[in-house]
Symmetry: C2
């Protein structure tokens, strides 16, 4: 294959110019989930705002990352928890991830924590829904669409109440409520369940466990969103469930693609926008540029545990310092915890670091990360092999996907040692296969007909233009579980079959008996 | 919603410019299916050629529509049938569609015809495969990809033999071999089967029939592609089936979208390019422009029965002439058959008509069509209500989809009368709901982030750049039918359950007997 002149490359792209319908400026109500979830949704909100749409973001009075901005307007609503409550909650989650092995008891504790969190959020949602003046003013604004993260149910309930189409923006819902609500098939025979640790190629025992997990998921979903079901039925004054409401969503903007996720069935209203957060690299500050350039041929390593975790217990931190002391690379670490006296000189600690800009630098050699979906997409996008230390949520699954592709090593943070870290770091830096496979993955990820942000913008605007996306709604929504799987049809066919067999056998026996009696009579005669 | 200034609309589209990877010129081997199938594939072949790729089209010596062209090179291969054989075959199909009602015997006859056709094609394919000099020269050209219509198996077999990735271009394979090979779920509870006449909303009896049809499909597929299975195993010298080979295809370019088809699950390597044939309208010739403009406020009707049928038996034709005489619209009819003496003056007969240019004319009121997938997409694209006269193949299903959307009326051609035609024509022209619904459908169809042709080009080039699309291949390919549906897991779980119940019952009975004996002994004592 020979390279075409550059103008020819633009030809196809220029055709795009004519493919967008006349764009209209609309009003979008945005109800995000706080924390890292907001970081990528914000990119879409700001882009829609740049394109002339009026974006109104609902912000809880006590928020972590959702802030006011000149790019969108905000409406604040009171919540029943304080910043201290939030910090306490975060610390608990962090500690349980850092200190303990994921034993069965911990899973129960984690689930209880999640339930508590969701029940608390449900109360917050109730406060918002019954905030009559706010809701009245919002209703009167006449929004064209609701943009929401369906991990929490409030946006979906408001969309139903306002009779406006909902656009969902998410990575996933842990109990797979998203796929169930979208009527998306997800056979347990090759789609590993949340936190199972399996890949898409499973042995019989793994498939057995995966099938059982599928059953458990159903119960989990019911418990997790029980309060949401009750709130929705009460507020909307109709017998409904959160899953049913979710199923009316117009479009699902999903923060993954098949460079990262295992290939799986999709529904027509599912749109993949994985890598939406991987923007173009900006130049580093002079200080940072000097530091990373000073690393010489060995290059440097980027280390963060995400937006929520910037500290480590002293003993744990020591293991990291010790490992970093023994590598020739320089290390940039987002860390605000206590620093030992003899901290190695090749490590630079920062309160915050420009992660994507660093990962895009030609001298970067590895990315040590907790495996949040934003970070890993920045890693994939820039082609950087990773050492992963999953903490909670989908991070374990994310790590496992990249490990199965041979582009990362994964360690458990509760028992990490400097030796283990060193082995993993040396592997991903010195074994060239990690970098090669990562470059291939990166090339596949970046080779797409349209950028994820443009796609997200297009579909949000599509929903506004056509007041939903009814033509993408499968008729499966009208079927119950038995009908969907044709169990009633199969039952009916079995019944016919059994009846035919029964009648045939009976007839045969009847004939046989008749003949037998006759021959006996004859004999007697 | 207010309209944005036009420059803002271009912003998003211009971003497309940067989304295409550096394009390389490659070599693509093309093995089309002759007839109307070729018409849209040709568009992609020409576009790829325009972009600098070397396109080599394999053309049977006796071909209907595949011709030499300056835009691509051709290699001709001998076949065992003549133009007369083809004409005879066509006439038979045409007659059976025009003259007889689709009774059960006809279905058997049609299936026998199809089998004969496929067996004949399989022989043609064998001739091509064992044409050593041609195959050797092709192999030596070092193609990057194979573009083929998988309705016939030859392209897929050659792709496997040459070890090059295959890109499929199709509307569907009648027995749903395409979905089976792509591992795409298609629940019979809401996905109507080929020629069933059902929509995606079925009653219990309809679902029952649809389920039975699903079983029949399996047998049909096996019969239809039995000769292909044998040929593939023999030529590739390995035990294989056509379905298995098909499953290794890189990308499926599917000529439908959800403005037309019922929403359904999709696999990651399925790309929708419905409407790829609906190019921009060119101006009409002076003569045609005068004729259609002379129709005044009433406008005109376009009537064709596709590229393969330009004649009708005299009695049948008379019904059409009589119906057209009674409408105020002018009619443009692609017809080369006998003309009655008193043919109405509002009808203009033509050997060939510029269908898309006419359908894009503002004065067009209705489109009378056989319901081929090319014609209906030109109808949808231009927003023209239709009267449909399905003849064979997928045309019945196509008609039924548009009727269910309220944008068309469907008639059976074997018993069509001027009265029935008149009623249908008046309905779609005078009842405004047809036009309104069609305009909505058209708006949805045309509102897409990227044009179908660009998408087809992108994915063909993607496959060339990355030597396939392995990351889109689901792990389901490694499972057999029992494993895919987890029947082994369910069986194992049932076995455990039954064992537990059995042991429990036995233990209880044992205890009960022990206790009972004791109490009896006591009584006796």
């Amino acid at each position: 294959m020979r390279t075409l002149p550059v103008p020819a490359q633009g030809l196809l792209a220029l055709l795009c110019l004519f493919s967008f319908e006349s764009v209209q400026a609309g009003k979008v109500l945005v109800l995000p989930v706080d924390g890292s979830h907001w970081l990528s949704m914000k990119i879409l909100v700001e882009e829609l705002s740049n394109r002339g749409h009026e974006m109104v973001v609902l912000v809880p009075e006590t928020s972590i990352l959702i802030k006011k901005s000149g790019k969108y307007s905000t409406k604040t609503y009171p919540v029943s928890f304080t910043h201290d409550d939030l910090a306490e909650n975060l610390k608990e989650i962090q500690n349980s991830a850092l200190e303990k092995a994921p034993k069965l008891t911990d899973i129960v504790v984690n689930f209880r924590n999640l339930l508590q969190f969701l029940t608390m959020q449900s109360k917050t949602c109730e406060g918002l829904l019954y905030n009559e003046p706010l809701m009245k003013s919002l209703r009167e604004m006449g929004f064209d669409a609701m943009l929401t993260d369906p991990f929490l149910p409030c946006g979906t309930i408001i969309a139903d109440s306002f009779s406006i189409p909902a656009v969902y923006f998410l990575r996933l819902i842990p109990c797979r409520l998203d796929e169930a609500a979208a009527q998306c098939p997800s056979p347990p025979s090759f789609m590993p369940r949340y936190s199972s640790g399996f890949t898409d190629k499973m042995t019989f025992p793994q498939r057995l466990v995966n099938t059982l997990l599928t059953v458990v998921e159903g119960f989990l979903c019911r418990s997790m969103y029980e309060s949401a079901d009750e709130l929705a039925s009460k507020y909307l004054q109709k017998e409904t469930t959160y899953a049913e409401l979710l199923g009316h969503g117009a479009v699902w903007l999903l923060r993954y693609d098949f460079a990262f996720e295992f290939p799986r069935p999709q529904m027509p209203n599912m749109v993949q926008i994985g890598g939406i957060n991987c923007v173009k690299r900006a130049p580093l500050t002079k200080e940072l540029e000097e530091f990373v350039n000073g690393s010489g041929e060995h290059g440097f390593v980027v280390f963060t545990l995400g937006s929520m975790v910037s500290q480590l217990p002293e003993a744990k931190a020591r293991e990291f310092f010790e490992a970093f002391r023994q590598i020739p690379q320089r290390v940039l670490w987002r860390y605000t915890g206590p620093v030992p006296e003899n901290a190695p000189k090749n490590v630079k600690l920062m309160k915050w670091l420009p992660q994507n800009d660093l990962l895009g630098h030609p001298k970067v050699r590895a990315f040590v990360t907790h495996g949040g979906s934003h970070g890993i997409y920045e890693g994939i996008c820039n082609g950087v092999p990773m050492v992963m230390l999953p903490l909670f949520g989908d991070q374990g699954d994310n790590a496992q996907r990249l490990v199965s592709r041979g582009v990362a090593e994964s360690l458990t943070i509760y028992d990490v040692t400097s030796e283990k870290l060193l082995v993993a770091l040396k592997k991903v830096i010195n074994d060239k296969s990690y970098k090669e496979k990562m470059m291939k993955l990166s090339a596949i990820h970046r080779d797409r007909p349209i950028e994820p942000l443009d796609l997200a913008v297009f579909w949000t605007e599509f929903v506004m233009r056509h007041k939903g996306a009814e033509h993408l709604r499968p008729a499966a929504h009208d079927l119950n579980w038995i009908q969907y799987h044709s169990l009633d049809v199969i039952g009916f066919l079995l019944l016919i079959l059994l009846t035919v067999i029964f009648v045939t056998v009976k007839s045969c026996m009847f004939c046989f008996r008749k003949c037998f009696k006759k021959s006996q009579k004859k004999k007697k005669a």
